[in-house]
Symmetry: D2
Subunit: 342 residues, 4 copies
């Protein structure tokens, strides 16, 4: 099977990463790549790292340009996917890397985004219980956010197994590419290098309802999450430090057993050997996640840490992985497991 | 008053920062500077940034070389301060930047350091209630650890005012200089740049009992702290993200009022205007701390964030500040308030 | 003497650094600080690292607001200084950190800037032969560019002593703050971190005529300079690697002697001991320059390297140093010699 | 054809990169991987980014362990390859990533390395004229050094076409991984971040004779090179800024035509469109090189700039490329063209 694949939003960071991965996917033939303000320019001017496709010219993003492909990846600002997707037939697999179709409750969407809710699509985190079955054969997939991917992989086994109380505390460090390619003063290199800062503190970050939704679903009860993102001086990577109060009688051994069972057969999640802790460098450019977990007996809390590349496993790689699942291809096709380090 | 001041451990990062600050202190005349393996070398070879003292030669660290000064700063590996301090008379003010005399409970020391407890000295965090009175006239001062400084400044007002339950969760990001100048593989630039990683997870970091001690003291009850340090790609700075469950009826307004009262008259702690969050770049090289706080109503938690330079306010600057208090000098003498940014 | 000092362009990187340094200058009382789009805002919002002046409000930059001060620092985009300076009386010392008055030949200005030449002011690099005499008592000073400062300090002794042929090759690495605070896509943290790139290659960078002018003046003949700037992943610092073919018979000993003589009495330039090479970290935040020089006998070239902080010695510190000279104050007043490292 | 491939020095940075690339090479089956002090440990402990081979155990490096493979990659400290290679039969293709067999003149080797010269092997830079013919069918290949790869790609076309005088000036910026994984104080993250520094100045860097050899060979006359390496705050990447005086009558058009001809059919070297300049981020993790060239008419010099990833095109990728050529495989097999950016 050779798939003809289009990518909308190819001038952005997520779009560029999708193109980088698709170049090594043996079943993909790249079709239209599109952008908005960069339409008409060769890709090499906009994404100089994509030497293999430097001469390919960016089309204008539209239902016309994107139509007629087997798969269309949408890497667009939130709120722009619904209209486009509506014009792409059910015969086209649409992978939406935006937030539009991730949330189940319209109230969550409206509170955090301020516009009417467009709907809910199958959720592209194959590692979640039941996710692969829901993705298989789907023609629409909501690709998870980068923070929710990292946090869910760190915490879902504990919640699914009932090890912890339904209140989590998450502090996540992210590289600057998570903010996209938009040009804002606080994202200047001079501001970012040598600095760590907080933003979106106090439950107001838009990924909060998504990770709450994921953990509540596996816990079978409402989970609250105190989520604080921080910006760190690197381009890529998320390290999520997550904790929750353990329920009475839960031991370190039980915690480890639960996580080993969750990830024993997962191709892209590596539970590290005891005593070793995740680092974002180890997963850079790969679709892998590193996870580690321990019990702080003094504080009575389970502490779980995960590391992903926000653009790969956290966006483009996760999208390709879910595309593979949706189409019945081998799940790891075209996806690197090894990080680019040091 | 001109003070004759010695610095032991002048070849390390903390020692170098003490020298940098003392060079601008109007009441200080630098006496002996000492080291161990670098003894006999000119400072300029070991600390090339200290151009003003490049030709001064490092003596061997000993009671002989350090004796006869008005003030001696000890920036030594933990466990080495007690013997030296014992040989320095009470007429000499000893500022210990190591951990040896910070903890009150011998059991804490023995559990985390594995050696007999040397004692407890007045604790050099002037911002803590009662601290200035205890420091004034002291001849021995235990300079706080860098993480405890950041965490205590973020959280003590809330605990002192009884706003939160006695269980805190802290995730702190630190630059690599916090690990000192010892040469370890995981601290190589190639490993650190582009990477965030966890270490000392699960309540095992040695600063845990110190910050627990500080918060328990102001709370008037035993506080547990789940503390996770992370290493981020920058040389200097700590950003501490701290949270605790609020007690019933505590409002955002009450939280803000408590913090404003705590820091209204503090020369080196700046509670940021609402909506602005700390960044480590803003305090680089300065003795200032930035603090911000909010209420996450969904999660029911107070979230407080602080930023300091681990080598300045977190070590050397804090030490000079406490020296000023101990000696009755103006507290801010010789200490920069402005950070070096961008 | 207490000087009342104004700073125009206080919202930019150069303006912020001037404010940081003036805060520690014992003869300076800060008067009006001004900006354009940020006028009306408190400084703390715009320059959060300047904790000591956080509440001071930015005025609109104008001859009215800046009038009546003893000294006015202009840190404005090039081309904006002449009109303002014309409205400030001769009784006010104007320190122009822009390029407007640095070049002697109108043709150079017009070729590189495309507008009519405004004139030439005394050049604020005190280390150049004759510069101090020209600066003393001046009421107008052209503060050098950051690259020309670094390159001139590395190379002028060799050209002044006739050691080398009049053709230099310079490759200089600069941190991103040299590009100012303007928001451009290629200056985003995501683009800059982990990357070194070239720009302004082939003799087209606007600092080229300035450094050519400096070297030609001391050489007493026309010097050509092949100048290539590169952008490196750090916020501050310039490392200039400079070389020129040695004239027959020039030895390593002679080269060293010339440089030792040039810098023996300079307070802010440190010729490193043989075998040690400059690093930008060693001068961060300080007004110091590090210089080293050697002879490559195989290639027949003198190689000189210098390191400065582009915002301090390269702009704001150099400006304060020249202000001190112009006003007859001790040259180093208020200026740090020690870098902030690590 | 499936090749059984061994890697010696698998615990280092070069060895790790070889393993990362081989994992995606469709004709390679990984055999023995070996190390010295890490022998006996699983790869995942030593190279945590190589998730795909985490459980493979490192053997001791020896002729016994490495024998019986179709291809053996040696990523060892210089001076250790000759003895090992001597015990591996001619039927095994040996790719030496060390310096031992790169230099043709024994005097060069002895001067820069101080030990007897081991010999000269076919040189693995396929882009050089005649190189592919020499590599095809070879059973021993000397993989070029990282700096020589970057410099030669930037400058060889100009020298081969006689455009420039035989004296080049090169200043190259390298990430820290070029120094390998050895633990030295100046390579600590705290020292490296935020700093650019020089080293090996004055013609003493060991890569000098290699790049001189390459340029002299294509020029057909002795070329001298003034080479200055600098260390910049990133883990990977080299940017080489190279220049030489142009011969009379050489125009920008002629320079461009020469470079276009040189690289029109090269799969891994991209001559950028006019006006665009190389950046190391664009080639990170890829086997691609970016090259750009211009004429500085004022200075009379051709300026050429190249960017590579020192570990990929500069070492491991170049080695795999040459292995492909030696074995008659498609030259680009298993090698990424796209960089990992941002």
């Amino acid at each position: 099977m050779t798939l003809r694949v289009a990518v909308a939003g190819a001038s952005g960071y997520a779009g560029g990463e999708i193109l980088r991965l698709l170049a090594d996917h043996p079943e993909v033939e790249l079709g239209v790549i599109s952008a908005h303000t960069s339409a008409g320019r060769p890709l090499g001017e906009v994404q100089p790292h994509l030497a293999g496709q430097a001469d390919k010219v960016l089309a204008e993003t539209s239902a016309q340009s994107l139509g007629g492909h087997d798969v269309v990846f949408l890497a667009l600002p939130h709120g722009q996917s619904a209209a486009l997707a509506g014009e792409l037939g059910e015969g086209t697999l649409v992978m939406d890397c935006g937030a539009d179709f991730r949330l189940r409750r319209a109230a969550d969407w409206e509170r955090f985004y301020g516009t009417p809710h467009a709907g809910t699509w199958p959720y592209g985190l194959p590692e979640l219980p039941g996710a692969r079955a829901a993705l298989k054969g789907a023609s629409r997939v909501a690709v998870p956010g980068c923070y929710p991917t990292a946090v869910t992989l760190a915490l879902y086994p504990a919640f699914a197994a009932g090890l912890v109380e339904p209140e989590a505390v998450v502090v996540a460090a992210s590289g600057t590419s998570g903010a996209g390619r938009s040009v804002k003063p606080h994202l200047l290199g001079s501001e970012v290098m040598g600095s760590v800062s907080s933003y979106g503190v106090g439950g107001v970050h838009r990924h909060t309802p998504e990770l709450t939704q994921n953990l509540s679903a596996v816990a079978g009860e409402a989970v609250t999450v105190s989520f604080t993102p921080t910006l760190v001086p690197m381009a890529r990577g998320i390290l999520a430090t997550c904790s929750a109060r353990v329920r009475p009688g839960v031991t370190e051994e039980r915690i480890r057993a639960v996580h080993e069972a969750a990830y024993a057969d997962e191709p892209f999640v590596r539970l590290l050997p005891p005593g070793r802790w995740p680092s974002t460098a180890a997963v850079l450019g790969s679709n892998s996640a590193q996870v580690q977990v321990t019990l702080d007996t003094d504080a009575g809390r389970l502490v779980a840490v995960s590391a992903i590349d926000n653009l790969t496993k956290g966006t483009a790689g996760g999208a390709v992985q879910s595309m593979n699942v949706a189409l019945g291809l081998p799940e790891g096709l075209g996806l690197p497991k090894n990080g680019v380090a040091p």
